[in-house]
């Protein structure tokens, strides 16, 4: 059971997508796991032949538990690993496509999801579908239940606040050049191919990280461990509540258009509960953009073991003085929350400066 983030302690195997004897290649999706936050497609780390399932669908096991054995090409069949098999639980008859919130509610209300028609994207069963299918129940006193999602976020954020000495830096960035570039870029494209400013900002963060790589790191074993790949994590709020941070792999190597496509794909799959395990496990820095909600400045909490979070607020037209002249410019507040164990304010300041510079030259992104 892979760790899909600092806030994951255990996962429930929903189903195997392969059979014993199947040949699999590194990166193939082989199983679906339910975490506190969502269903996740689990990718295999090694190519070979599926030899044995150790954990059966329905079983909830801790992170680190061996789920199956894969025999590499040329290897002879091995005995089962020395770990004790997890308790087997009867296999569900068929996969039911439902949001985690709907599953939880169904358990609470005693609704069989097999008989519920989903009205969400691709027929996903939503909370409202479960509510509609449930028999009327007597009104209960309003008790706020702590969802698995909320518990997971609480654990990660409490750990972050407890262990990470945050420092915060902020700057205002003139977005005139970036928005003008984006406007011209989008003017040539049909609506389905247009790029949002959010994608431009993600790409700019990745580019700035190439100049200040210390912020693209994990803090593990009491020391910073710089990460070679720049996988920008996108803080996404889910419509059913909660937060998830999937990664755009190698953001620095993508064009703005590719970054938009990757972001669009991630958001769509995050909201339908079909993220891949590597996308949840691999982010090396987080970007939180709350501009859509009118938030002017974001003061973020770092997602461990990362060492930095970049926040963006709303782009607001403001008076802007330059060369003795005052004009009106679209301005965004960019903030950096960083781990003081890994970097100092000086490097943090250099990062924000690089970010600013990058956004003044959008044609180079």
């Amino acid at each position: 059971m892979p760790s899909l983030g600092a806030d994951m302690q255990a996962g429930k195997l929903v189903e195997w997508l392969v059979k014993v004897g199947d040949r699999v290649n590194r990166g193939d999706t082989i199983a679906v796991v339910e975490t506190d936050k969502s269903n996740v497609d689990i990718e295999v780390f090694q190519s070979g032949i599926v030899e044995q399932f150790i954990v059966q669908p329905g079983a909830k096991v801790p992170v680190g538990t061996v789920l199956a054995t894969i025999r590499a090409e040329g290897e002879t069949a091995a005995a089962a690993p020395p770990t004790a098999p997890a308790p087997a639980v009867p296999t569900p008859a068929a996969r039911i496509n439902a949001s985690p919130m709907a599953r939880k509610l169904a358990r609470e209300l005693g609704v069989d999801l097999g008989g519920v028609k989903g009205t969400g994207p691709h027929g996903v069963i939503q909370r409202a579908d479960v509510e509609g299918a449930a028999a009327p129940v007597p009104a209960a006193p309003p008790v706020e239940a702590l969802t698995g999602m909320r518990r997971a976020i609480a654990a990660a954020m409490a750990r972050s606040n407890r262990e990470i000495p945050h420092y915060y830096l902020g700057t205002r960035i003139d977005m005139h050049a970036a928005l003008r570039w984006l406007e011209q870029f989008n003017a040539r494209r049909p609506v389905k191919d247009r790029v949002l400013v959010a994608a431009l900002l993600l790409k700019a963060v990745a580019r700035a990280l190439t100049e200040v790589p210390e912020l693209n790191a994990y803090w593990v074993d009491d020391r910073p461990q710089p990460q070679e790949r720049i996988n920008v994590g996108v803080a996404l709020s889910l419509r059913q509540g909660g937060l998830i941070i999937p990664a755009i792999h190698d953001t620095d190597a993508k064009s703005v258009e590719e970054t938009m496509q990757a972001m669009s794909d991630l958001i769509t799959r995050a909201r339908s509960g079909r993220l891949k395990s590597s996308e949840l496990a691999d982010s090396t820095i987080t970007v939180s953009n709350l501009g859509d909600l009118g938030v002017e400045t974001v003061y973020g909490v770092i997602y461990p073991p990362q060492v930095a979070l970049v926040g963006f607020g709303k782009i607001i037209e403001q008076p802007w003085a330059e060369d003795g002249m005052v004009g009106i410019r679209p301005v965004i507040a960019a903030t950096l929350a960083a781990d003081h164990r890994a970097t100092d304010g000086h490097r943090g300041g250099q990062f924000l400066s690089a970010l600013n510079q990058t956004l003044q030259e959008p044609d180079k992104l």
Partner: protein, 84 residues
């Protein structure tokens, strides 16, 4: 195309991006994005759906004219005039 047909198309598009929201409860002058908690990504998908259904490719500079249900219906009515 009638206003009622346009409104139906808008509700279908909204149901896809905000399935838990009751778009029918919107007042004509409610701020759509605020009332349904729609972010810029959702809004872009809404515009893609409108383009697919009605063939109206709304230019970026007109996004600001599409804040309320009424303004969207008016805009789309003006851009689909004469169509079946």
């Amino acid at each position: 195309m009638t206003e009622e047909q346009i409104r139906t198309t808008i509700f279908e598009a909204l149901r896809k991006i905000a399935p838990e929201a009751d778009a029918h409860s919107l007042s004509p002058d409610d701020d759509l994005r605020q009332a349904l908690d729609i972010d810029s990504f959702d809004f872009l998908n809404f515009l893609v759906a409108i383009d697919e259904k009605l063939g109206v490719d709304i230019p970026e500079q007109d996004y600001g004219k599409l804040r309320t249900l009424k303004s969207i219906v008016d805009y789309l009515s003006a851009h689909t005039t004469g169509r079946g």
